[in-house]
């Protein structure tokens, strides 16, 4: 039986599973006037499945890539469902309109640190509606009223008669009821899960090797493929030695893919050996002739085009900052497994954007979207790289050509040289301070490839891209004469979103510039910021808290220095203080980082903490050593020996304080990253008087 009901924002559908279980499906809509015909039932997404043996499967929209989104989303749903936490299993939803992220143009995307913020209400509503169905089923069975029954930890109780039934026992009966019109959301005072450091659901499988990532997918008869793409972006394949490749043991075929070529074999190792023997050659490409010097020159030319501001004042600053291209360096390289038949296409993929994967699979398979099934695996890191779908196109193309299930795994070299990079950029600040030391005029210009243009090209035509200038405009500091200008630059190098996106470069720029202004004004950098944050009490509180946590202002050993930085991004405010020292030989040591975050209502404080810790390590790694350079139109770096990321021995002590507040939730996955670099470089300045204006710090003299 299928019953449907409509509340203001929710269509709920309830169906029986195998005669005895309960499955709750639902679609969300902001249009209160929409009605639903029977035919639309198929559009409803499945959210909850309860089987007679009390197992509860929650189907959630987010991909799990380490940020704890499965646990966070499950907590929201389970809180209202009153489920027993130990019986819950979580899977990422298949592609369906029910799972469109309202914060990202209704695309099925895990990004923008929005897994909690975008889904709070919807997950609560599904959980509450399912709970009410189970309560109603119990009440009917006992012939009492709903209001005499309570649901708790996976059971419904009738206290008066000391009777209870488990959700599994009630699932069958509940599946024959009509869903509630407007489920009652349990109030915050009654929360049992939300706000607590509940252990993550994904961790047990991640300590014994049983967790299934993209590269762990195994299908009957599956083959393995290795790919090589033009090292110059957009170049074309000119020649290859197919005979030598086929002569390698285990190699079965050679298949052309967009911008490159693949070798298919009976093992990953044989496929890579085959690719070596194939020796593909490429020519042409859009970045031909590009190198890092030219990138710098183009950025400077764009700044010059915008022109310098006229600046007067008691004292002035006129400085330029610069950051390089970066890669995501997810530890699991890009990969995808596909099985294309005449009328179906199954794709197993660690991905952040299921809609894009589906379109890529439709295009490459020649099938329709209802013949394509996207199965999302755990992701060995995402950080924005898995918002793309280039790997899906390859796997589907190859599987279609060989009519077998195929797994494509990129080598680390391929992964390094075919990223969607955090763009290189340059930013100029001209700031005047008055006789009271406060900034009077703030003229900032940013030259940077447009990140938003990668998913919505028109923004680049008008130099309107709040994603790329997030953190630079607006700024929280009071400045009477504020002016920020942005210009897009296109190098032909593929650009993408890297964890915290625009805030990543702009936080380094703005928080360095304000530090320079404080120095010019001869005011303590914390006091200077606090004074200028007068109109932003939330920022002020976070800044004061981090100063306190870090013992700001207390004496430090000789050669040590502290630096401070603050950012608002993804609706959260984060401030950090780094403490460093420089040895006589100029070696940098990062001793500790204190971090305070206000991300509004917190679902799981321990996950917020771990995201801050991880974000800080990520940010310090970027600041100290990461850099993609270009030569002859291609990426110079190839693997972790020349693209170094931070190791345990260089990572500092990190203390995180989470401020719980009543405001709407903000993000947690990304906001921990941006402050790390400026807190670090400001600390270096405090310790040595040396101002770092270009990242990475690398071998710069300290």
């Amino acid at each position: 039986m299928i019953a449907t009901a409509m509340s203001r924002r929710t269509f709920l559908k309830v169906t029986t599973v195998a005669g005895t279980g309960l499955a709750v499906g639902c679609v969300f809509d902001n249009e209160p006037t929409l009605t639903m015909s029977a035919g639309e039932g198929g559009q409803l997404g499945l959210w909850v499945r309860i089987s007679p043996d009390n197992r509860i499967t929650l189907v959630v929209p987010a991909s799990e890539m380490g940020q704890g989104a499965h646990t966070g989303q499950a907590m929201l749903l389970a809180e209202q469902l009153e489920a027993d936490w130990d019986t819950i299993e979580v899977v990422t939803a298949p592609v369906g309109s029910a799972y469109g992220n309202k914060k990202i143009m209704y695309q099925q995307v895990t990004g923008g640190s929005s897994s909690v913020t975008a889904w709070w209400d919807e997950l609560s509503e599904v959980g509450a509606a399912t709970r009410e169905l189970l309560v109603e089923a119990a009440a009917q069975q006992w012939q009492v009223s709903d209001s005499q029954c309570t649901a708790r930890a996976g059971r419904v109780y009738h206290e008066a008669t000391a009777r209870s039934l488990s959700y599994g026992q009630l699932a069958g009966a509940a599946s024959r009821l009509s869903p509630p019109w407007r489920p009652k959301i349990k109030p915050r005072e009654a929360y049992r899960l939300i706000g607590k450091p509940i252990p993550r659901l994904d961790i047990p499988a991640k300590v014994n090797g049983s967790a299934v990532f993209g590269i762990d997918v195994r299908r009957p008869g599956m083959r393995f493929a290795a790919v090589s793409q033009s090292p110059v972006f957009g170049g074309e394949l000119t020649s290859y030695d197919e005979r030598s490749a086929l002569a390698i043991k285990g190699v079965e075929s050679v298949v052309a893919v967009p911008n490159g070529i693949a070798v298919v074999a009976d093992s990953t190792w044989h496929a890579h050996k085959g690719l070596e023997a194939l020796g593909p050659k490429f020519a042409g490409g859009v970045t031909r002739g590009l190198d890092s010097a030219k990138v710098d020159a183009m950025l400077r030319a764009k700044l010059d085009e915008m022109g310098k501001a006229e600046i007067k004042g008691a004292e002035t600053i006129d400085v330029e900052y610069q950051v390089p291209f970066l890669m995501h360096a997810t530890l699991e390289p890009m990969n995808c497994t596909a099985h294309v038949t005449e009328n179906s296409c199954d794709v197993w993929v660690p991905a952040q954007n299921q809609d894009r994967c589906e379109s890529a699979a439709v295009d490459a398979s020649g099938l329709s979207s209802d013949q394509v099934n996207i199965h999302t695996t755990l992701c060995g890191g995402g950080f924005g790289r898995r918002l793309e779908s280039d790997f899906v196109t390859q796997a589907v193309t190859i599987s279609r050509a060989v009519s077998k299930p195929v797994q494509v795994i990129w080598s680390r070299e391929e992964d390094t040289r075919h990223g969607f990079y955090r763009p290189a950029s340059m930013s100029r600040f001209q700031i005047s301070v008055g006789t009271d030391g406060k900034p009077e005029r703030w003229a900032n210009q940013l030259a940077c490839p447009s990140v938003a243009a990668t998913f919505f090209p028109p923004v680049a035509w008008f130099d309107f891209d709040p994603t790329t200038y997030e953190g630079a405009k607006p700024i929280p500091y009071t400045v009477p004469d504020f002016d920020m200008e942005y210009t897009n630059v296109d190098f032909g190098v593929p650009i993408g979103s890297l964890r915290s996106v625009g805030a990543l470069h702009n936080c380094f720029y703005v928080e360095s510039a304000i530090d320079e202004a404080a120095h010019l004004a001869r005011v303590d950098p914390f006091e200077y910021r606090r004074e200028l944050l007068g109109e932003h009490p939330r920022h002020k509180k976070v800044l004061e808290s981090v100063a306190k946590a870090s013992n700001w202002g207390t004496a430090l050993p000789e050669g040590h220095g502290r630096g401070i930085a603050i950012i608002e991004c993804f609706d959260s405010v984060v401030a950090q203080v780094a403490e460093v020292s420089i040895t006589g030989r100029g070696r940098l040591k990062i001793h500790r980082v204190d971090c305070v975050v206000d991300c509004g209502r917190v679902v799981n404080p321990d996950i917020v903490k771990s995201q801050m810790q991880g974000g800080i390590v990520f940010g310090l790694s970027i600041a100290t050593r990461e850099e993609i350079t270009i030569k002859d139109g291609r990426v110079v770096q190839s693997n972790f020996d020349d693209y170094r990321i931070m190791k345990l021995k260089d990572s500092p002590i990190i203390n995180v304080h989470v401020i719980q507040s009543d405001r709407e939730s903000g993000g947690a996955g990304e906001p921990g990253v941006p402050c790390a670099a400026p807190a670090l470089t400001n600390a270096i300045f405090a310790a040595t008087g040396k101002r770092i204006r270009r990242l990475p710090i690398g071998k710069q003299q300290l």
Partner: protein
């Protein structure tokens, strides 16, 4: 045919002797807990224990490993009862989890040699990369595992 002794079981594998152990484990034997991250010995995602010492399985061939006792993450315990696994859960270490098989085995090997490692010892022994930045928790978990192991004695 070459003979590999993995987690106490012997396997006959039909691969060329120069095949990296990593790919024999993953593609031939289906032991996918051991991960691929770089292929050049840099990241440690492929770490296994050979005669109780940590090795990067992408850099050792099946020929070299044949006949020696190999332990992979699957051989630690499937029910998460090993003290290092316990500590990893208590400290909620993994984020994406991709590096963690290697991290855990590196920690197991460290703790076998040194039952009470200092921060310096941990710095020296733990060279595996973690892109998610779980280092602060790895450090805490190793110390906790040391205590758990001591209590078990």
């Amino acid at each position: 045919m070459l003979t590999l002794t993995i987690n106490g079981t012997t396997h006959q594998v039909d691969v060329e002797s120069e095949t990296p152990l990593l790919w024999a484990l993953r593609d031939t034997l289906g032991l996918t807990g051991t991960k691929f991250g770089c292929g050049i010995g840099q990241c440690g995602a492929c770490t296994v224990l050979i005669r109780r010492a940590p090795f990067r399985s992408c850099g050792i061939t099946v020929g070299e490993a044949a006949g020696k006792k190999i332990q992979t993450i699957e051989g630690l315990s499937t029910d998460n009862t090993h003290p290092v696994q316990q500590a990893w859960i208590m400290e909620q270490v993994p984020q994406c989890g991709y590096c963690q098989s290697g991290q855990i085995l590196a920690a197991v090997s460290l703790l076998r040699k040194n039952t009470n490692p200092t921060d310096k010892d941990i710095d020296r022994a733990m060279s595996n990369l973690c892109r998610c930045g779980t280092y602060p928790r790895i450090r805490k978990a190793i110390k906790r595992a040391a205590k758990l192991a001591e209590a078990e004695q």
